[in-house]
Amino acid sequence: MTQDLIYSVCGIALFGIGLYGLIIVPHILQKILAVNIMGVGVFMLLVAAGHNPGGVSDPVPHAMVLTGIVVAVAGTALALSLVCRIGELQRDGADEEAAP
């Protein structure tokens, strides 16, 4: 097994673990973690494909992964902001129900 094969396999396994988390794990925050883990898996496959032991690595996958990391954090931030707004609306609703 060469280095890039190890990490290719690791990347796909990460994708699978993340998929499991997204579908099976009930908590929303962990679902968001799961999406991020899936992303890391894809990135790892990309970088491993561009890895060139002993020579110059392919910079195009590196650039793609840099783009992907920024897109992932943007998606995570939007998801978390929605989660916070939902959680607070629900809490307010629960408070109003409990008050009278």
């Binding site: 679902k31 990309l46 494909a49 195009v60 793609m64 897109v71 943007a74 998606g75 939007l78 998801a79």
Partner: protein
């Protein structure tokens, strides 16, 4: 002077909405944002129509390609246009123009309007970017802009159901993008390029490209909401603000369908199997029937319209078995694409009109509970007329774009010897008639209850809202009268270049 070059216009289709987005972030005055957006939407429409009219002169595929940065594939990113893409660009610009006019009158809260315009323009960036894309990773980035801006637009509604629908939409969208990106990573690993045309030349029928096509398909099906993966669409599309619902149902889901058609029939057609094509068709047929049944059972008007989208999207997937290069000759494949392209355009106008009409009803009545809409036609004649005309197009009654589309589809299905798809189209039309007439019956018959009437008298609907909904419905009728013109454009522009027998 060598006239107007088609190529040089292509980047402006992305740059114009990008600059509009920046301008609407910077402008403080909302009326300025509103009128600037309407003006720029008109400019975008003019641009898209110019591209559409110039296209027939460019039969050479190199003349329809624009190398950004001058590098050219595979190092750089290209933009590429053909007849299919140009028609979708024009549809987006036309529907977007009317929706801009509507939105200007619809959003009357300062905060919502201030967020709406930049997000709206970024949505346009993504749509135009996808239709022009010729690079697999570039498609990923545009899909993310599309997904995130669509989610943010749904969340504008601010209510708890809307936020929950938006969150689910977001997670599904991210899952779809990541499946797509994994497929692209496999393709890059196998072929060392991201350019769609080069991938089409190099792709072999081998396990790696099958896996890539499978992942890309699952990712895009999630975003297109084909039947077993449609669960997120009805809540998201029915709880968004009306113009957003119209854009999501009319335009956004079509973008991922467009990519599916590209990957299956062009880029990875060597990896596409007959079984896969038939299965996509079968799922589409199931979506037509089950989506329509759900629409018939819906209690809320906007939910009905959203389920109708699930059903109508099903028709599009009949493209795959009908255009299957193995089963049909190029003539039938071209006819199938004609039919589906017509379907997309007709549905974009009709569904946008329907959602705007439903939004008008919701705003005027204060609710969209179908049972309580008795006699609402007396209050909102123009909106209900728009709903009815759009509904006729969904059913496939003449004279409407939907009629032509369905007729073309029936014709192709019978020509290709696959009559069962024709049965699906007819059955779907009958079911559509049930849910459309269920609403119209209630709305035109009976008198509204006094409480509702009182509430409605206080809430006057701006004229712009009903007029723009009606204008969209009128477009579906115009599409019914001008079918030949539209089809000629589609044919001349060499839709999906493989059909014209050229190497992309």
């Amino acid at each position: 002077m060598n006239g107007l070059q088609l190529q040089t216009l292509l980047p402006w289709l992305v740059a114009l909405p990008l600059l509009a987005a920046v301008a609407t972030v910077l402008l403080q005055r909302l009326w300025l944002c509103r009128w600037l957006s309407v003006a720029l939407s008109a400019a975008q429409l003019a641009l898209a129509l110019t591209v559409l009219l110039l296209l027939p002169e460019q039969s050479d595929s190199a003349a329809r390609r624009y190398a950004l940065g001058g590098w050219g594939a595979p190092l750089g990113i290209d933009l590429y246009i053909d007849g299919f893409a140009a028609l979708l660009l024009a549809t987006t610009a036309a529907v977007g123009f009317l929706l801009s006019i509507y939105s200007g009158a619809y959003f009357n809260e300062a905060d919502k309007a201030a967020r709406f315009w930049p997000l709206w323009w970024l949505l346009m960036v993504a749509l135009n970017g996808i239709f022009l894309a010729a690079d697999a990773f570039n498609i990923y980035v545009t899909l993310e802009i599309l997904g995130l801006s669509a989610v943010a637009l749904v969340a504008l509604q601010g209510s708890l159901p809307a936020l929950q629908a938006a969150l689910r939409y977001l997670l599904v969208g991210l899952l779809g993008s990541l499946c797509y990106l994994l497929g692209v990573a496999l393709l890059y690993r196998a072929y060392g390029t991201l350019d769609l045309a080069q991938l089409a030349l190099q792709a072999q029928a081998e396990p790696l490209s099958w896996a890539a096509l499978g992942l890309i398909t699952v990712g895009l099906l999630l975003k297109t909401a084909l039947l077993p993966l449609h669960f997120w669409l009805p809540p998201a599309h029915s709880s968004a603000p009306a113009p957003v619902s119209a854009a999501l149902s009319g335009l956004v889901v079509k973008a991922s369908f467009y990519l599916l058609a590209r990957f299956w029939l062009e880029t990875l057609d060597t990896a596409a199997t007959a079984g896969g094509l038939q299965m996509l068709g079968a799922l589409g047929a199931a979506a037509v029937l089950l989506g329509s049944l759900q629409a018939i059972r819906a209690r809320r008007l906007k939910l009905l319209v959203a389920y109708s989208t699930v059903a109508q999207l099903g028709y599009l997937f009949l493209l795959f078995p009908l255009a299957a290069p193995l089963a049909a000759g190029p003539g039938i494949a071209g006819a199938a694409l004609d039919a589906v392209a017509y379907f997309i355009i007709a549905h974009a106008c009709a569904k946008a009109a329907m959602f705007l009409a439903a939004g008008n009803i919701q705003r005027a009545a204060g609710h969209d509970d179908i049972e309580r809409l008795q006699g609402i036609a007396r209050r909102l004649p123009l909106s209900l007329l728009a709903f009815g005309v759009a509904g006729a197009s969904l059913i496939g009654l003449p004279p409407s774009g939907g009629f032509i589309a369905k007729w073309l589809l029936l014709d192709t299905a019978i020509d290709s010897g696959q009559w069962w798809w024709a049965a699906v189209a007819i059955g779907g039309g009958l079911l559509a008639a049930v849910y459309v007439f269920r609403v119209l019956n209630l709305a035109f018959a009976g008198s509204s209850s006094t409480a509702d009437a009182l509430r409605m008298r206080r809430l006057r609907l701006p004229k712009t809202l009903s007029v723009s909904a009606f204008a969209l419905a009128l477009m579906t009728v115009l599409l019914g009268f001008n079918a030949l013109w539209v089809l000629d454009l589609l044919d001349i522009g060499a839709p999906l270049s493989y059909l014209a027998g050229e190497t992309p």
